[in-house]
């Protein structure tokens, strides 16, 4: 199953390599075991699945939440759906002294499809977006992406904002945010600001959120006109973390050639990527299987994926290409194009 040289598992065995990185970013340094190192003081091994002690605050307003985060600084962590955070707490990978539970804050949820804009409050549950009337018809890529997020019970609780703020490189929302030019609203001790997705997503579990800032909502551009979209993901089992995932959105011109194209991927590096080279390549050309293959190659050339226990970098790169081809074909098909030339 390929080299896993970068993967360590002293504490704790398991979860994702990516989640381990998250914890290490803020947590105390772990020492790597090595036959050549002198006897070392190590944190005891897992297993632990009970969270360490913390104080719990449940603010009822955004201002209260921001104030609480400001007061406690590094010691505090905001909790939305908790579907990613609670396991990290349980494995003791995250050790905040204070949890600021955002779920009691009114007005931060809600999904609205208004013309060409999908407005989402940060605390909107994934399941509510998934079931938003008319969204699947309007932009199947969004619904198909959300359907890949764990299972219904996870989506009933997990939030859009939580997914974006956590910024797991395999999170479907990170690809959607890039593909659909999302604008994200942040609120912090210094006030409010809006940041495009391209600036918001920085690296593994790293976003533009400054200390004490909260994501409150986002707006995505939903295509209209002669467009089609598709989200395809490869995972060992339905609901597992993506080995690779592709969101493809294609708008066709009157003559059936590609007017606009968006190709965004997850699971292929330190964060989601939108491959401009592939999008450029597609524009103005007739959508054929050969074109999709070219776009796939362009995508592969840009990727620098990781290896882990499920897939090597090479495999990820390979399947990313396969998924790009397939997703483009389906997107084009949904846009009503690509007939004779074999858009299969």
């Amino acid at each position: 199953m390929g080299a896993c040289a970068r993967r360590i598992a002293v504490v704790p065995v398991g979860i994702q390599a990516s989640s381990l990185r998250a914890a290490r970013a803020g947590a105390a340094a772990w020492r790597m075991p090595s036959p050549h190192a002198p006897p070392s003081r190590l944190e005891p091994l897992v297993s632990r699945v009970k969270p360490p002690p913390f104080e719990y605050l449940a603010p009822r307003s955004l201002d209260e939440a921001v104030a609480a985060l400001a007061e406690h600084g590094d010691e505090a962590k905001a909790m939305a759906g908790g579907q990613s955070l609670v396991p990290l707490l349980a494995f003791r990978l995250a050790r905040p002294s204070v949890i600021v539970d955002l779920n009691g804050i009114g007005g931060l949820d809600g999904a609205r499809l208004d013309g060409d804009t999908l407005e989402l409050g940060a605390l909107t549950r994934q399941r509510d977006v998934e079931r938003l009337p008319g969204l699947r018809e309007r932009c199947p890529m969004i619904v198909e992406a959300i359907e890949q997020v764990g299972h219904v019970a996870i989506r009933n609780r997990g939030t859009v904002g939580g997914s974006l703020a956590h910024a797991d490189p395999a999170a479907e929302w990170t690809a959607l945010a890039l593909a659909l030019d999302a604008e994200l609203d942040l609120v912090g001790p210094g006030g409010a600001r809006t940041v495009p997705a391209t600036e918001f997503l920085i690296s593994y579990f790293t976003t533009a959120l400054e200390p004490g800032e909260l994501l409150t909502g986002l707006r995505l551009n939903v295509p209209n006109g002669r467009s089609g979209s598709c989200f395809l993901e490869l995972a060992r089992r339905h609901g597992d973390f993506a080995i690779a995932g592709v969101g493809a959105l294609v708008t066709l011109d009157g003559d059936g050639s590609v007017g606009d194209a968006r190709v965004a991927l997850i699971g292929v590096g330190e964060r989601a990527v939108r491959v401009a080279a592939a999008e450029e390549l597609l524009r103005g050309r007739r959508p054929t299987a050969e074109l999709f293959a070219e776009a796939a190659a362009a995508v592969q050339a840009e990727l620098d994926p990781n290896s882990d226990v499920h897939a090597t970098a090479d495999y990820r790169r390979h399947v990313a290409g396969v998924l790009v081809r397939r997703a483009l074909a389906t997107a084009v098909g949904r846009a009503g194009g690509g007939d004779r030339d074999g858009a299969a």
């Binding site: 009970k50 969270p51 719990y56 609670v86 396991p87 349980a90 996870i154 609780r157 339905h238």
Partner: protein, 164 residues
């Protein structure tokens, strides 16, 4: 008072108010089981994958291992114990699981039952494909899922008959 210390937690479970004490860090499943004595909900993995801890919160399935007990205050919780009060006939879903041999050791079963309750509410006549896809978040090591699928279809039938 030390902020991490146990505090009173009041939960409404199966229509009944329960009071207990727990530190903020205690998960909902541990609170239900250890503090409230509702041991029908089981712990399988404590990281949200196996589904054994699935309960309903305000009518929707959640992983009770991925929630803190304190977060469940003010919500309506429903666990397997709420499907049929003691001494009362089985809920159609329970009836169906037994009739179709949809359980063997029974450990994963409460989680499945709650997931099925939500599934049938969303889709009263689910296809086999839908059932398998919707229930893929609950893991069973005993049955091979075959009879669970049969049980869900039978439960759908029983539910439709009862509604008719």
């Amino acid at each position: 008072m030390i902020a991490t210390a146990p505090r009173e937690v009041v939960l409404r479970v199966n229509g009944v108010e329960h009071r207990g004490f727990a530190e903020p860090r205690v998960t909902l499943v541990d609170f239900l089981r250890d503090e409230l004595g509702l041991t029908g909900t089981h712990v399988g993995c404590e990281h949200g994958v196996c589904g054994a801890c699935t309960i309903l919160l305000d009518g929707r399935t959640v992983r009770s291992c991925l929630m803190l007990a304190v977060q469940a205050e003010g919500h309506e919780l429903r666990t397997v114990e709420g499907l049929a009060p003691a001494g009362e006939p089985l809920h159609p879903i329970q009836e169906a699981f037994s009739e179709k041999h949809g359980l063997q050791c029974g450990f994963c079963t409460p989680g499945f039952l709650m997931s099925v309750e939500e599934l049938l509410r969303d889709d009263p006549d689910p296809s086999e494909e839908t059932i398998r896809s919707r229930l893929s978040g609950n893991i069973c090591r005993c049955t091979g899922y075959q009879n669970i699928v049969e049980a869900v279809r039978y439960a759908a039938e029983l539910t439709r008959e009862a509604a008719a």
